[in-house]
Symmetry: none
Subunit: 126 residues, 4 copies
């Protein structure tokens, strides 16, 4: 099952995070055409956000034809191709790294130390 994750500290609006995660989820194959998404209610409860926040996210994706809502049945991944351009991927990677470096800086941790720590883990897991 696809897992949503809200970062309350990043300052990125909740509805934007939900939208991004669904789009990237489709682009990376974690979510597939026709698959059913959680209902707005269940997702709102799960993420502990207001119902309207989830509705807003689903609505925007519906407008982009990425999602299809069937009255009374649920919300599904649409058949449209989802375009997550290489550029968008790069931007997302970049913005995540920037925030990461900033958070670390508060504790006097340098980017170099972050890289070392990440490499340590990578070696262990791959």
């Amino acid at each position: 099952m696809f897992e949503f994750r809200l970062d309350t500290r990043s300052g990125v609006p909740f509805y934007r995070q939900i939208i991004d995660q669904i789009r990237f989820g489709i682009a990376t194959g974690q979510l597939r055409m026709g698959e059913q998404l959680p209902t707005v209610r269940s997702l709102a409860v799960q993420l502990k956000v207001n119902l309207n926040t989830v509705i807003k996210a689903y609505k925007e994706l519906e407008i982009q034809k990425i999602l299809e809502t069937q009255q009374g049945t649920g919300t599904f991944i649409g058949s449209e191709t989802v375009n997550v351009s290489a550029k968008e991927r790069r931007n997302k990677t970049k913005s995540i790294c920037e925030e990461f470096v900033n958070v670390a800086a508060v504790y006097g941790i340098t980017p170099k130390q972050l890289i070392e720590e990440l490499q340590k883990n990578e070696g262990g897991n791959l």
Copy 2:
């Protein structure tokens, strides 16, 4: 001398950009311990923003103990950036990295890609 620049289009708050640039300057060694920053007034004029916007940025960094201010004297890069024990810092580094990898995973970004992005920044700015 350290140079500030504001991107008026990015949507990132001005005071946040100032904060990020100072932190970045410290992380990359362009700003050093004890060094004096521009006065709030001169920076406000230089960046063409309101005095309070600069004060807000400096204040946040002061609360985080990254800057030290003395009324009537000026604002300086703090001296006790690293007063935490090595062990503490190792733990913090580890937890920050874990969190970071998890957030990235939601967007289908692998640790390897994160390392590459971080190395890119490091190479470019040091």
Copy 3:
């Protein structure tokens, strides 16, 4: 409900008084984890100060991770007040006390007198 009061004569900045009262409220258990604080607007009206003054106070506590705010929702007492290890806290307690005793010594105040003063406050407010 928690009650705020400003002393307009003390010379202590309004925003500082608000900060102190919230911290005190938490320390004495009058404000609890997760509890919602008055909205910035309502508190500004109640204390007859400008909106920005209240925002400034809340913001500082947010930076210190004592409060958590969510745009559009409200401001809450933070939940991760105590995420430091027992050992870390013991060290911190020790160093704070040492510093404190030294400062007091300059004014000829003995540790015993400090203890008495602290106990007075504790007894009165809990």
Copy 4:
């Protein structure tokens, strides 16, 4: 020799701290009538503050006749009785304790824990 100590974090102006320390020093017998104080220059260097700050402090004490300046010789403790009332002592103790509790609160340390730590040390030292 009498030791001065500036607390840069308390927000209390430097000149005020110098004044207070001299007054309390006299009241507690650490400074005696006729004793010579450091020259403004040496004290300014020692405390790393502006010369004018020390001058301002000495000047105010001279006006209160607590100090006497002999041109070309130095500054001495005067013969006036220094009145540090019981009330003033209480206020000073109180304000130091308040700041102490506030600083501790940031680290999630309760007044009770401070008292315990102080009592531990007291037992050991007395």
